[in-house]
């Protein structure tokens, strides 16, 4: 997993609330193995018509926004299904950070497992960022995970909160299972104690 420290890129504003995981990656593309390039499928049905031609009104198809690698969304981005493919496709398409007022919980979790940084900012700030990006297509935004700040096109700086565990994992690009295996003793001790308290749980599952 690619570590995330500080990243600057052209950013694209997406005004719509509730951009769900079916819009990010339609269900019919979920069966691709991870080694295929998922990037070509990002926002597929918003971006391309049924014949595969670009839909001109979709913002990522507009000049100035094509090189975007940061999305400034609106409310409840990534709501819906648990499909990690929604994160694979964003990452493979080059996106490294998404800014929104709120995220779907599972999408939010999945992002950290793939080096994608979801940033939560207040509604006024997110609206302001989107406005600046609409006003100047091609403008850049900086997301600094070490400093926990977002720098807007007008150079205003906004701090954001993130839990320390997830921040550390992203900064170092840590493998989650490897980290947990450091707690092997705790897990084993817990399992011994747990089965004693509740003997039916294992016996039932083993039938």
């Amino acid at each position: 997993m690619e570590p995330f420290t500080c990243f600057t890129s052209v950013a694209v504003p997406m005004d719509q609330d509730n951009i769900d995981t079916d819009q990010i990656l339609p269900a019919r593309h979920l069966m691709m193995p991870r080694d295929e390039r998922y990037g070509g499928y990002v926002f597929k049905d918003l971006r391309l018509d049924q014949d595969g031609n670009e839909i001109g009104s979709f913002i990522l198809n507009k000049e100035g926004f094509r090189p975007s690698r940061i999305i400034v969304a609106s409310h409840n981005f990534g709501c819906g299904s648990s499909r990690e493919g929604a994160v694979f496709t964003l990452v493979d398409a080059g996106f490294r950070a998404i800014i929104a007022t709120r995220f779907g919980d599972i999408f939010y979790n999945n992002s950290f497992n793939n080096g994608l940084l979801p940033v939560v900012l207040p509604e006024e700030t997110v609206a302001l960022l989107r406005q600046q990006l609409h006003d100047g297509p091609g403008a850049e935004v900086t997301v600094d995970l070490e400093a926990q700040t977002v720098t807007a096109p007008d150079q205003s700086v906004y701090p954001f909160e993130i839990d320390a565990h997830r921040r550390n994992r992203l900064l170092k690009g840590l493998d989650a299972v490897g980290y947990t295996l450091q707690y092997e003793d705790d897990i084993t001790t817990f399992e011994g104690r747990y089965i004693d308290v509740a003997p039916w749980e294992l016996s039932a599952a083993q039938q």
Partner: protein, 469 residues
């Protein structure tokens, strides 16, 4: 006296292995379900030369890509979907997981099979790489959906790191009127708190209406918690829960049952426990509901009319409404009862249990469907029970297609059962997202009774106004 705790906190505390310096808790996972799309997780596991820590705690059940017309080679929509199903079976065999395979009558939709088999039990933590895992909370479990990396983590360690979510209680008071189902109650709740109203929270559903619900009804309510943004929804275990579970194959037996029941009785939320957020809804105000837009929060009683964007003062909200209206092919101000329906789907982890099928049958009895409709049972055992009760005969007489093989089917539309471009579907499933049931599909979420009524009239019809047959 110990600190008063909620149902959720009691389960959380009991599964807490340790807490790290950043405040995340390492939770022990009791039960884990896998389906075809768990293949990413198995690839990650095997790619890192890791093994499954507790194979006996994982249940593999193909449901997303299995055909519903039958399970012969020719029933599959293509070779790729069949290979994906076979891949799950191989991974289950290789790792010695519990497997409900293709020739197993118990097989069906994971969130139907877990409770039906008694695998889902009060006080347990259950995860699955599927957002509708929240369903299992109906039996007093803490159950939530996870992504592929986390599935791999659970396979390897039987644990997950989680920040402690906030708690929310939704109390449904009063009495629901006849013809108002659990589906209408949860749709009304989502309409009330919004599609992100529960984000970051675990919801506990409480109050007299919830307590009076059967387990099947409770499963429908908890199933759609994720559509309100909450990863988990739960209901305190009670006599209804215990009566449902007793004697099920994976439920505790004999002395173990008594011990288990004693423990389960300690789980309900203490009187003085506090929640981060409380909401109350009066059931008397709930009517049969129909979603009209592309988020489950876009929901209205069947007696009302489609919103008019021109009446919106906020320009962003106006644009959003127009966009939804365009996609759904609706006219502003149009009465919902005037919307013509093309197709009906009754099934999915929300509404494919025996009570749902009985509801549909009671509307379809001695009537004829005007539009194509399919009914897909939630499990092989539900299919058998429905046929024993003669429901299949009612469906067939009404001209409705009764599918023999259980599965997710037209809810997600990846097994060959999908809704055509610009076709309008009355569906008992859980998501009306753009393209959810197929590219360009127009989904309206309703209860099984309302879906059956739409099949008969070809429009959204208040099922309470249909004469009893």
């Amino acid at each position: 006296m110990a600190q008063p705790r909620s149902l959720f906190e009691k389960i959380w505390d009991r599964h807490s292995i340790t807490t790290n310096e950043a405040g995340q808790t390492l939770l022990f996972i009791d039960r884990h379900f896998c389906h075809e799309l768990s293949f990413h997780a198995f690839n990650m596991l095997h790619g890192n030369n890791r093994t499954v820590r507790h194979p006996e705690r994982t249940f593999a059940i193909p449901d997303h890509y299995t055909p519903t017309t039958g399970l012969n080679d020719s029933d599959y929509v293509d070779a790729d979907t069949q290979a994906l199903v076979q891949n799950l079976i191989s991974n289950a065999e290789r790792n010695k997981l519990n497997l409900f395979g293709l020739d197993d009558e118990r097989r069906g939709i994971i969130h139907v099979v877990g409770p039906e088999q008694g695998i889902t039990q009060p006080g347990t933590i259950i995860v699955c790489g599927d957002s509708h895992t929240s369903t299992h909370g109906a039996l007093g479990a803490l159950a939530f959906g996870i992504g592929a990396s986390d599935v791999s983590h659970v396979l390897a360690t039987q644990t997950l790191w989680q920040p402690k979510p906030k708690s929310m209680r939704i109390t449904v008071t009063g009495r629901r009127s006849i013809g108002v189902t659990a589906k209408d109650v949860i749709l009304a709740i989502i309409g009330h708190i919004g599609a992100a109203g529960g984000t970051g929270h675990v919801i506990e559903y409480a109050g007299p209406v919830i307590q009076e619900f059967s387990v099947d009804e409770r499963l429908t309510v908890c199933n759609m918690s994720i559509e309100a943004g909450a990863r988990a929804g739960m209901i305190a275990p009670d006599g209804t829960t215990y009566r449902y579970l007793k004697g099920r194959p994976f439920a505790p037996q004999g002395n173990d049952w008594d011990k288990a029941e004693q423990f389960w009785c300690t789980l309900p939320t203490d009187d003085a426990a506090e929640f981060d957020k409380e909401e109350t809804l009066d059931a008397a105000s709930i009517e049969p509901m129909v979603t009209w837009g592309t988020s489950p929060e876009d929901v209205l009683p069947v007696s009302s009319s489609i919103p008019d964007p021109s009446l919106e003062t906020d320009s962003k909200r106006q644009d959003a409404l127009s966009r939804k209206m365009d996609y759904m092919g609706l006219v502003p101000g149009q009465p919902i009862s005037d919307i013509k329906v093309d197709r009906v789907f009754i099934g999915s982890c929300t509404n494919s249990r025996i009570e749902d099928l009985r509801d549909a049958a009671s509307v379809l009895k001695d009537r004829t469907a005007r539009i194509p409709a399919i009914i897909v049972p939630g499990s092989g055992l539900i299919r058998a029970q429905a046929e024993q009760e003669g429901l299949d005969k009612i469906f067939e007489a009404a001209g409705v297609e009764w599918r023999p093989a259980a599965g997710c089917s037209m809810c997600i539309g990846v097994n060959g059962d999908f809704v055509q471009n610009e076709e309008r579907c009355a569906s008992t499933s859980n998501r009306n997202f753009e393209g959810r049931q197929g590219r360009g599909a127009r989904t309206h979420l309703v209860s099984p009774a309302m879906a059956a009524a739409a099949a008969v009239t070809g429009y959204f019809t208040d099922v309470r106004k249909m004469e009893k047959n």
